[in-house]
């Protein structure tokens, strides 16, 4: 996680933060009043904060979405009223890159599922950096199916670079596992609310994001491929990732404009990790409002609206094919 643009910028601010708190401590014990110096430094701090984080480029947002301190799925899930984790695909393995289970949200039972990256190196290794294996997607499908059976809303959290691209994932039919998630979410007769909380990478993210309501954190990203992957595919040059990031339209604003994202959850200046409790609370409130609204719809209405929504997405125009007119 070194090389994260946002983390690097925060280093400068950290220095300033340290000085402010030192001054504050000194001010409390020493007779000389340094309140005005402190205030000045704080103003400067806010100014720099605005300069540095006031507007973020798509590439900066990519780094924000990957910030090691950014709240993960479990930060949201553990803030729910209650959570009981369910494990496994019933066949092969319990994939720690996916967490899911029953939860209560203001008294309402839901099934919640999220991609889970690690919050440190050790956990990242265990959770494969939040990149699910086929077993993880089969757990997703199973839990979504349980939700459907018990008529419980599904609340997902999307946070993955993408599905695991390793040998055993190919051997265990990663394509099939993701395709069957898409199938399950397309047919689930219950409300589905998906929230992109960090990085939403490719089909591996979409597998948890076919939903009646898609929320996205302000500085999260959601893209057809990672910028590095896109640059490698198109230009055989992963170093052009920044260029790819700006072209891919992967910000919450872009995706809201396309109709892919229904609601953007604002983040504090500097990113969600600067006030985790507030962001988590705000996000859960927004999710709950969606769940409540969707719960008023019949399964048939939900399925019909979900179908229409995805059926509409895309840009095309009608065009008479020239050669075929030749007859």
């Amino acid at each position: 996680m070194s090389g994260n643009l946002i983390v690097e910028r925060e280093r400068g601010l950290l220095e300033l933060e340290r000085r402010i708190s030192e001054l504050r401590a000194a001010n409390a014990t020493q007779p000389v009043d340094m309140s005005s110096e402190i205030a000045a430094l704080e103003a400067k701090y806010q100014q720099i904060l605005h300069e540095v984080f006031g507007t973020l480029s798509p590439w900066e947002k990519v780094h924000m979405a990957r910030h090691p301190g950014r709240p993960t799925s479990l930060d949201y899930i553990s803030a729910l009223e209650r959570f009981d984790e369910l494990h496994g695909d019933r066949q092969f393995r319990d994939d720690p890159a996916i967490v899911g289970g029953f939860a209560l949200m203001s008294g309402r039972a839901i099934v919640t599922i999220g991609q889970q990256r690690g919050r440190d190196t050790k956990e990242n290794l265990r959770r494969n950096f939040g990149m699910p294996a086929p077993e993880g997607y089969r757990k997703v499908r199973r839990l979504a199916h349980v939700a459907s059976r018990l008529n419980l809303p599904i609340v997902t959290f999307v946070d993955t670079k993408g599905a695991d691209p390793g040998i055993s994932s190919e051997e265990h039919a990663q394509s099939e596992a993701i395709a069957m998630c898409l199938h399950e979410f397309s047919t689930a007769r219950v409300p589905i609310v998906a929230t992109v909380i960090g990085e939403g990478g490719s089909g591996g993210a979409l597998a948890l994001a076919i939903a009646d309501s898609v929320l996205m954190l302000e500085h999260s990203t959601y893209s057809v491929a990672s910028p590095e992957g896109c640059a490698a595919i198109l230009w055989s040059d992963a170093s052009k990732a920044e260029e790819a990031a700006s072209r891919l339209k992967l910000t919450a604003g872009d995706l809201h404009d396309f109709g892919i994202v229904d609601e953007i959850v604002p983040e504090p200046l500097g990113g969600a990790h600067r006030d985790v409790a507030a962001v988590v609370g705000r996000t859960l409130s927004a999710i709950e409002m969606s769940v409540t609204r969707l719960s008023a719809l019949s399964p048939e209405e939900l399925l019909e609206e979900r179908y229409r929504k995805y059926r509409r997405l895309g840009t095309w125009h009608a065009e008479r094919m020239e050669p075929i007119g030749g007859r």
Partner: protein, 283 residues
């Protein structure tokens, strides 16, 4: 409905001549130099090593469909939602591929008969943007499935794809959701859905409709996978064995129903359609 030869001539336009200009082709597998007309006569299978060359959608349709073919969705043409431009603009790339391939997009959809069975058919073509799925591919396939659902005919999709199309960004990814939903509606009504995975089938196409079929057939030696070979090699930092992600490898790993040599493909599809219909109708 047009007769096949007319339809082919009409849709291929001037390209057909252009391509015929290349009289000789070298087999990428065994190195044999092949006279292009002989190769075409052998269903684009190398007579020496049985390497299956990638087929154009036109050649595929004429090799599979009995006679007539009624294209649908041909008037659905790509937009440029991201205003994409790198070395070339996206519209310029599309124009280039259109001229080179004679295709209007990476899939041709329509209705025809195979061995006397009415079918809905979609054929992807790797020669147009690497068979990538953008809005038009998603839209045409969804349209085909919706129409097939109304007509209650089986649907066969020939896949050939490098995945989602970068230049349409997230709208390309959303075609996975669109096609999946259309497949789901189609199959939930009790209709038969079959895919034929041809070389290569990866990414967003393999992880959506390709693997949602009742029966999944793959052509011999086709490369099929979720992640691309290069991505995996970079991840694991070592070379992958040759047979990794081949159709034969997937058969052993249980991911697909059968591997079929191209020469036997049409007969196989007819037999499968016959089973799905309930058997042989006898007098």
């Amino acid at each position: 409905m047009m007769q096949m030869p007319d339809w082919l001539r009409a849709r291929r336009g001037k390209d057909a001549e252009g391509r015929d200009a290349a009289l000789w082709t070298k087999c990428p597998k065994c190195g044999e130099v092949l006279y292009r007309r002989d190769l075409a006569a052998n269903a684009f299978v190398c007579p020496r090593c049985a390497h299956h060359f990638r087929m154009s959608a036109f050649d595929r349709i004429s090799s599979i469909v009995d006679g007539d073919f009624a294209e649908i969705g041909a008037d659905i043409a790509p937009g440029d939602p991201l205003g994409w431009s790198d070395k070339k603009s996206y519209p310029a790339k599309l124009r280039g591929d259109r001229e080179k391939s004679g295709l209007s997009e990476a899939v041709v959809c329509g209705f025809g008969q195979i061995g006397g069975f009415d079918v809905a058919l979609a054929v992807m073509d790797f020669h147009f943007r690497g068979g990538t799925m953008g809005t038009v591919v998603g839209e045409r396939i969804a349209l085909l499935l919706e129409e097939a659902r109304k007509r209650k005919v089986p649907c066969i999709v020939f896949t050939a794809s490098g995945g989602a199309r970068m230049e349409e960004g997230m709208l390309a990814l959303m075609q996975m959701a669109k096609t999946t939903a259309a497949v789901t509606r189609f199959t939930e009504d009790g209709n038969f859905f079959m895919t034929v995975l041809t070389d290569p089938t990866t990414g967003g196409v393999s992880a959506s409709f390709a693997f949602q079929a009742d029966v999944i057939v793959a052509e011999s030696r086709a490369m099929i996978g979720f992640a691309g070979r290069r991505v995996i090699e970079q991840t694991i930092r070592q070379k992958l064995p040759d047979q990794f992600q081949t159709a034969e490898f997937l058969l052993e790993k249980g991911a697909i129903d059968m591997v079929v040599d191209r020469h036997a493909l049409k007969d196989t599809l007819v037999r499968l359609l016959e089973y799905a219909r309930g058997g042989v109708l006898r007098a």
